[in-house]
Symmetry: C2
Subunit: 287 residues, 2 copies
């Protein structure tokens, strides 16, 4: 995973070179190259490889997933949204570059994610690349992470049930993890049945990812997280631990991870190992 | 042009239906269906027709151009950017839905513009659709309207020269008009030489469009514009009238429109008529 992160970081560094107007590109690069775990690119590359594809075919899409993720973090951190001062252990984008540039850097990253897939993907039939663009679009907009963020905002200071909380998590977090896996599989040439199996895998790890985020907000420190801990408690946010308690929430996350790994049963063990490892990484992460 | 606007409005109405979470879609629709002039879609459809294409092939791209334009207006109007209260004679998006939802509605429109082209374009080879996505991406991000907006922000309260002003106008305004025309031509099946001629046409009308915007800020009323007049003067912004005077600015706009129309010389007169009319419409508009 460390090697894959290096590969992706190098590709992203080259994809967003410093040019006029420098402030824009500096702001994009500040958040894009801030050293996250690169979970989405790793999933995208691993899915491509699992179905027999060359990871080079999925590399632009893998970078695009991280660009979209970064955009969503920059915009979510804004004063008019979650108003966060720290992210990945550093001041948030708008704290360094101002709100206006932060909004625009997010816009540029979002737009470039689609452009980069169309421009840089090589050796894949154009129809497949278009399908990847559709999957990514669905993961972002009115059926994806933006919709999840809207429902999240509307649920603040309100008691919401498990159905709404699940909607938020599935859209705000799982949708882009789903797109990462599914797009990797499409680019690798997977058949429809395989794509749907991997879609189920990714939705499970996506929901688990967010349940564990809720858990870590309670159990981890700000230092461990690189962002403000106990933030959900502070703003009285509905979370899995709040609705189900800490132990039951851990059980839910465990079950989701197990069910995700079950989706990989029909595959060659050695080939499926990276996606199994990524599921376990998400299931047992400490930050 | 009125018929074309109706066609585009109907297509956009269907493309962004009202669904859960309603606030997001209402906010998107509030600005998208606010009754602008639909200049970009009209250019896209006219360019497709000029080169012998069926306008249905360009309709999704035409809608996408308006979605991107709408996104840029929503984000530009935000308090941390131009802080405008009125747009097209109505309160701006954030005044109605709040800053957070306005930012997210812009994000969803931007993402959906790419998705809509990939999903809804029919009867066109996939390679051509991918090229359209690249052109649109270039028009938006670090080489397009976002870059123009960043330089615009950085030039506030500063005396800038004609070169910087031209950069702002070419990126903030002309880039998307260029993409509208060029994408229409690509979808219609134009050859490279024709695409480049139309690119020159569109860059000229794009720059003229913005020079005239600068002029109207001085000469028109808030009522005529549907947005705050004399705003550039109020914030001491560098404009064409400020640098060149009103008369010389009008001359520059006239020359740009003439040169644009010259690019259409080799085409059949009847077929070129809509693009000639659009150039004149931009050249002589009063709001």
């Amino acid at each position: 995973m460390v090697d894959r992160a290096k590969l992706v970081n190098k590709a992203m560094d080259e994809a967003v070179p410093l040019k006029y107007p420098e402030t824009l590109n500096e702001s994009m690069r500040y958040s894009l190259l801030a050293g996250g775990k690169r979970v989405r690119p790793a999933l995208c590359l691993a899915a491509c490889e699992l179905v027999g594809g060359d990871i080079q075919a999925a590399l632009p899409a893998a970078c695009a997933m991280e660009m979209v993720h970064t955009m969503s973090l920059i915009h979510d951190d804004l004063p008019s949204m979650d108003n966060d001062d720290f992210r990945r252990g550093r001041p948030t984008n708008h704290k360094v570059y101002g709100e206006d540039i932060a909004i625009l850097a997010g816009d540029a990253l979002l737009s470039y994610s689609f452009e980069h897939i169309a421009r840089a993907t090589k050796g894949v039939p154009a129809e497949r690349v278009l399908r990847v663009i559709m999957e990514l679009g669905k993961a972002v907009g009115q059926d994806g992470l933006v919709a999840g963020q809207v429902v999240d905002i509307q649920s603040e200071d309100k008691a919401v049930g498990l159905d709404v909380l699940k909607y938020i998590h599935e859209h705000k977090t799982a949708a882009l993890l789903e797109a990462s896996v599914v797009c990797g599989a499409i680019l690798g040439g997977a058949d429809e049945a395989t794509i749907e199996k991997l879609r189920k895998y990714s939705l499970n790890i996506g929901l688990a990812f967010q349940v564990i985020d809720d858990i870590l907000d309670v159990t981890a420190t700000t230092e461990q997280l690189g962002k403000t801990a106990a933030k959900d408690l502070a703003v009285n946010k509905t979370t899995y631990p709040k609705l189900l308690g800490l132990e039951k929430s851990k059980q839910v996350a465990d079950d989701l991870i197990k069910e995700a790994i079950q989706q990989l049963d029909g595959f060659d063990d050695a080939k499926a190992a990276p996606l199994v490892a990524l599921a376990k990484f998400i299931g047992y992460r400490q930050n």
